[in-house]
Amino acid sequence: MPETNAIEMRGITKRYPRVLANDRVDLDVREGEIHAIVGENGAGKSTLMKVLYGLVPPDAGEVRLEGKPLVRHRPADAIRAGVGMVHQHFMLVDTLTVAENVILGEEPTRGVVIDAAAARERVETLSGEYGFELDPDELIENLSVGLEQRVEIVKVLYRGARILILDEPTGVLTPQEVRELFGILRALRESGRTIVFITHKLDEVIELADRVTVMRDGRVTGIVDAAQTTKEELAKMMVGRYVLLRVTKEEGSPGDTVLSVSGLSAAGRKGTEVLRDVDIEIRSGEVLGVAGVQGNGQTELVEIITGLRRASSGRVTLNGADITNRSPRHIRDLGVAHIPEDRQARGLVLDFTIAENLVLGRQHREPFSRLGRLCLDEMNDHAARLIEEHDLRPADPATEAANLSGGNQQKLIVAREFDCEPALLVASQPTRGVDIGAVEFVHTSLLSMRDAGAAVLLVSAELSEIMTLSDRIAVMYRGAIVATFDGDAVGEEELGLHMTGAGAGRSESQAAPPRAAGAPQRGRAGS
């Protein structure tokens, strides 16, 4: 059988007001292959896929699916042509059932009403085919993230997709779920479907893909067979220079205890306990990594330490001083820096300039303010210095934070928080959604903070990040710490097991744990 191309994109160009997102991009995806598209944030991967799916009209270029051209198409046309997309932020309606989500837009009817029985049956058949175990009548809001992803895949199959696009499918999954997903994708390839997946995790590319297209700054910088490349080579094509994929850390030299948390509990909105009797201790010059599936109490722990949420019982002390339930300003003044998990909502004021964002938290004090008036010159000098030190782009203090890339927004927060020379640094998902160049920067900065004698609390859903940086690792599950390890004494597999509560039978010993933080929180685009 001659090899035909399932997808052919030629000369795709898309210009947004400030950036050229796609610059004469060509993409060939062969029928029945798993094709990875890799690139940093802002490289234009998502834009390219949105063009393919008809969500974004290109300024120039053409799209062919299985040889047939698509002109000025909308998602409905792409769906009809056999394309299905699993978006990075799931496109599921929380308050509807699995079956309703699957049929939405293409409902089976009996007369004028929806044929609910037929819908249920189709969902059961499709999910049974791949061993998904989905209950068609369950509400989406009661599903785990891994199951939600399966609903998305069933949605796509229900529409008869022969070409599946998955945008960053593994970002929210545990290692076990990732392995299951890869099994599903391979099974889909066996059944003759073509799969395109977007990612920036190079391990996954090497493991799963047949071929890889690499993008940088809106252009294709390489097309290679996955079997004949290495992570280092891919990283170099992505970034344009050699990148340290795994920072190496020196043996730490921990000093006195900086942060001490004992017996900390907190109530959630519905009265359930979201934190249960948590004890942690971090010494100066030490990184404590907290691993766990999102929504198991990590957010609450960080919020209590930084004063953003009240504890119902327990104690938090910083260098011996009690900071339990004190105000964020008080806690900051004692030397706690915070890189929040949601950088756009809590880390920055997006409508403010770089210079303004860089003084937040210190704006009321000398030298940035005198007699209730902001000192703009000092603010600008301060900004110019930090921009230089951290290589922020664009290097203009008057740029609004909203106009920075995700990586530069994160650098901006890092620059501000590190500049206060904190005793304790609380870093929550510090590299979420930032590209590998910026990851390298954030990781090196965190370790240099540690080596300068700060205590670091690192919360991350990325196991590789936790394992690279931590001197000690604690695993959280349903609001409690279920296991702790020395940094190099544990493997990813074992951590993954503890994260799902399956490790060493410890969760069984706790009497009927209440459902901790409700359903795992999901990121939502835009809002």
Binding site: R74, H89, V93, D94, N101, G105, V112, V113, I114
Partner: protein
């Protein structure tokens, strides 16, 4: 307080609320806040009297109310969906516009700044005399209320089926929760939202028509906050047709009690507060926390 007369008037008071609340339901389920309901109600009331005045047919009046309601809601739809303006601001503007315009036109048409001359109301439905016994048994029961009361009650059932059993309803609800999801499935978000807002205009316009035809004339500002109370009833009823019906009946009952208590020992000002107090109690969420559509009020 439970005399037949009070219950009877409660149902009449509830009718415009029911229609308007159902309207609000369709708009909000699609993700568009529609506080313009107050103005739409008023415009519907005015248009129905104008049409009835000139044609002598109250059914033409009802049709005019629906039409005028849709016209005004179209304005709200264009401003808030196409131009993505703040939906609250658009709603407030429309309410003020409706207040001024109806009063102005009342003056132009009838030369009065306060009200229109009386017009004919709707004849009550009745079986013909020739049906004999059946007519004599049934007529006193159904012949008791203006036909639009039955239309309102029927609309509740219809709205329930449309929202929860048809593809249109599923898409409308999904649009209010997660418009991106709807868009990626090839369904037009704008089309769904326009439908929702236009249906709300039609229903609230009909509610206004009932209000005016039941009084046999147009009186300036006769909506008197009913649009807002209907919105409160919709929230009280947790964005469900049947729940909204219950809330409207409760509010209608409060209004009827208020009217029956007037002229007795209780100070009227106090009694007049009852429906509004109930509204506030409802809004604070006494009957469990109501969850609005997730994308309510956000332009797409």
């Amino acid at each position: 307080m439970f005399e037949l007369a009070v219950l009877d008037s409660a149902l009449r008071m509830a009718t415009p609320l029911i229609l308007t609340a159902l309207g609000g339901l369709f708009s909000e389920r699609s993700g568009v806040v529609n506080i313009a309901l107050e103005g739409i109600l008023l415009t519907g009331a005015f248009a129905s009297i104008v049409a009835t005045y000139y044609t002598g047919d109250p059914w033409a009046g009802a049709a005019a109310g629906v039409f005028a309601g849709m016209l005004v809601s179209l304005l709200h739809a264009v401003v808030s969906i196409v131009f993505r303006a703040d939906q609250i601001v658009s709603g407030v503007a429309i309410n003020l516009l409706a207040m001024g315009a109806t009063q102005f036109l009342t003056w132009i048409i009838w030369g009065s700044s306060a009200n229109s001359p009386p017009v004919a109301g709707m004849a009550h439905w009745a079986l013909p005399e020739s049906w004999g016994v059946l007519a004599r048994v049934v007529n006193p029961v159904i012949g008791h209320y203006p036909p639009l009361v039955y239309v309102a009650l029927g609309s509740v059932a219809l709205a329930h089926v449309v929202l929860f059993r048809t593809p249109f309803g599923l898409r409308l609800r999904a649009t209010g929760e997660h418009p991106e999801a709807v868009d990626t499935l090839g369904v037009s978000v704008h089309l769904m939202r326009f439908s929702g807002v236009l249906i709300s205009g039609a229903l609230a316009g009909l509610g206004g028509a009932f209000l005016a035809l039941n009084t046999h004339q147009f009186v300036k500002n006769m909506s008197a906050g009913r649009g807002f109370i209907a919105l409160a009833a919709m929230i009280f009823g947790k964005w469900n047709p049947v729940g909204a019906l219950g809330a409207c009946l409760l509010f209608g009952y409060a209004e009827a009690v208020q009217m029956s208590l007037q002229g007795r020992d209780v100070p009227t000002q106090f009694v007049q507060m009852i429906p509004y107090l109930l509204t506030m109690v409802a809004l604070v969420g006494v009957i469990g926390r109501a969850r609005p559509p997730a994308s309510l009020g956000k332009p797409y």
